[in-house]
Amino acid sequence: MITRFLWQGMDRNLRLFVLLILAVGISLPLANLILAATNPAHVPSWVLQLVGKYLCYALLALAVDLVWGFCGILSLGHGAFFALGGYCMGMYLMRQIGSRGVYGNPILPDFMVFLNYKELPWFWHGFNHFWFAAIMVVLVPSVLAFALGWFAFRSRVTGVYLSIITQAMTFALMLAFFRNDMGLGGNNGLTDFKDILGYSVQADGTRAALFFASSVALALGLIISAAVVGSRFGKALTAVRDAESRMRFLGYRVEGFKLFVFVLSAAMAGVAGALYVPQIGIINPGEFAPGNSIEAVLWVAVGGRGTLIGPIIGAVLVNFGKTWLTGALPEVWLFALGALFIVVTLLLPKGIVGLWGQMKSRSQSRKARAPA
């Protein structure tokens, strides 16, 4: 029944898009595993890894869009939620290494042996179980978002002030995670993973499964977002975005709306990070850099804020451009990225999806005019 409710919450385009994501999620891994390397339709493993990364970024972009596009909260700290989810997954993967590390310690990861830890810090306990890590992936970013949102929204910190606070938060976390005393690998982060759920993270089969999991997560994220946005709750959310004071005067508890969507979005970002880490094979404090969070905002802006499909298209396109440019013309990349920020905000406030809509309505109005 719930599935039917969710399914009916979406319009036709969105349903097609969900199916497209799932189709990619199934066909690419199959083309990698089954087809021979000589076959022109064969998908090499590195492409699978790359596209898998894009899918995780797309989920992050969707999370940013949920708060920014639909509720008007410009978070410059979603990279922190993404990285926290990644660290939770990384901790699980570190514990799975067991005695295969360089120092061969069955309990302590290599960097702890190196730093003369005598026993596991308290917050590492439990991460040897996958279910525990999976809960933490959602819980840790959610709790942080709840704590920050609870105070910020209640004291009516809005607009750029909130953006600056969230940026300060991710900056503070970056500094904290760079510390060796933090017990999370310092500036090297967590890496050198071996197994996930008993399967080698290097194996093609595992990669294919992770890719599929990412596409499912993205599709689920899209369905949930669509359900939230399409509901009465979502209408109120949009109203908060457009006229917060008026909503408050009408008697709505604005803080509650904002808090819910902020926490949901943080949880989605955490899941994205958790899927990102085993595919990339490393998580380090650099993921907390404020620039990363702002880049995620750019993906949304490019694709089209306030639409559900836009951020996914934006994330994939921008990151594809990044992969291509940093390989072909490394000096040009930052110019291109910077110019993209400026061009999109000045000329394309509704992003690519908005542009598509504009062109369609223009051609329709032309058609409507034509007979006359």
């Binding site: 105070f151 910190v157 300060a168 900056f171 904290a176 930052l334 990225l337 406030p349």
Partner: protein
Amino acid sequence: MQSLRPFSVLLSVVASLALAGAALAADLATLVGNLTSGGLSEREAAITALAASGEERAAPILEALAAGQLYVRTSDKVAVIGKADGNRLALVDAISGSPAGNAVEADLERVRVNNRLRGTIEAAVGSLTLMSPNAKVRLSAAESLFKRRDPAALPALDQALAAEKDPRIKRAMTEARAAVVLATADAPAAQKLAAIGVLRDRADRDSLGVLNAAASAASDAEVKAAALAAAGSIEQTLAAWQMAQNVWYGISLGSVLLLAAIGLAITFGTMGVINMAHGEMVMLGAYTTFVVQEVIRTSAPHLFDVSLAIALPLAFVVSGAIGILIERTIIRFLYGRPLDTLLATWGLSLVLQQAVRSIFGSSNREVGAPSWMSGAFQLGQLNITYGRLWIVVFSLVVFAALILILRKTPLGLYMRAVTQNRPMASAVGIRTPRVDALTFGLGSGIAGLAGVALSQIDNVSPNLGQGYIIDSFMVVVFGGVGNLFGTLIGALTLGVVNKFLEPYAGAVLGKILVLVFIIMFIQRRPRGLFALKGRSVE
């Protein structure tokens, strides 16, 4: 101390010999003659006699002797001091101190010393320098004696003290004497108590060490108690100085924050424009300084000391002009859309960084400090470097100038008018777009000035600005948006708080705590420390 006792007994014998020798008052030539002729045992007596003479040349001669540089020229039996100069030795007449040509080592006979004599010489030079006519030498001798605390030097010290006229040196000698007395196990208790009083007044880390040693070695209960009490009082004094030092570091850091944030206080505070490229304006100022110094180095090296003075107006113009350009081409289309402004200016900051990286390379560029900015001086127990002092002064001057511009010039009047009520300002004939551009240019230009100052203490690299942008926003938001005095107080407060946290939490954790503190603070007072009141806020 115990193991040194035989040695100190020996030294005290030597010192008393020195005093006896002073009565002989033989002239320098005879003394040096005694030194260079005769066997090792006569040489020892000659050393003490020479030291006791109080002659000005005695110290260099004895030092040369200890270093094996005292020779007798074979041809005329004149004592000379020889220093290696290529293959030959440059000679100085030992008695007169005037140059005496040069020679190869074969033409000279070295006056030999052994280790025992070296010890004698060292002690002799120590007491000799206490009597030196050169005030600087006497002072350093007293200070070194304070550190050595050699009981054998006590008679020489008493003699020097009686003869000393300079009050500063006299104090140093009194303190050295007190330290020596405390280190002498069998000194009378009354003397020790007096010495403790002297050291308590000196109140620094060294005297604390002496007092602690004295307290643990003291057999007399009264002396022990007095030493402990004095050590306690010194510890308090030191803690106060330490606090003052922290405040100074904090003010120093605060002035850097103020410089970085003050331009932002204009663009963000009064115009409401979120300029994420503000840090890059600072960076451009720093690179302007670099270019100015490069030009000066290649074409007019004598101007190097005024390079910063030349760089200041240039940096203001460069950053200000780019600021105006940015305002005219990008920001003016985004008024009323603060979040979009934020993203566009972030993009701009990436472009500017990459542009600078393409032109100047990504490595750090060296910006030199002019001579008047290097060095340090001591204020009480505070160690203050000139560079930091100038930056504090400079930031306050910039702040004062900005206040004057805002309050006393027509541009300032227009700026305030446009900030407070744009439509009305426009209605009375103020060209608001022009004022916007100039305001943004002013804020950016001040960032350029900050860059000149920061080039002195930070690495001049394309990433220079990024390190300051978050801090600057924190300062402006903390101090209260639209309030320049809030920015001043915010910057100094954050600087001092940061430096006080550092000893307890470490530099990084301290910074994290400050960030967390500000995040909490904004929750309590979303409009900052000194919020503007009234309808213009919403």
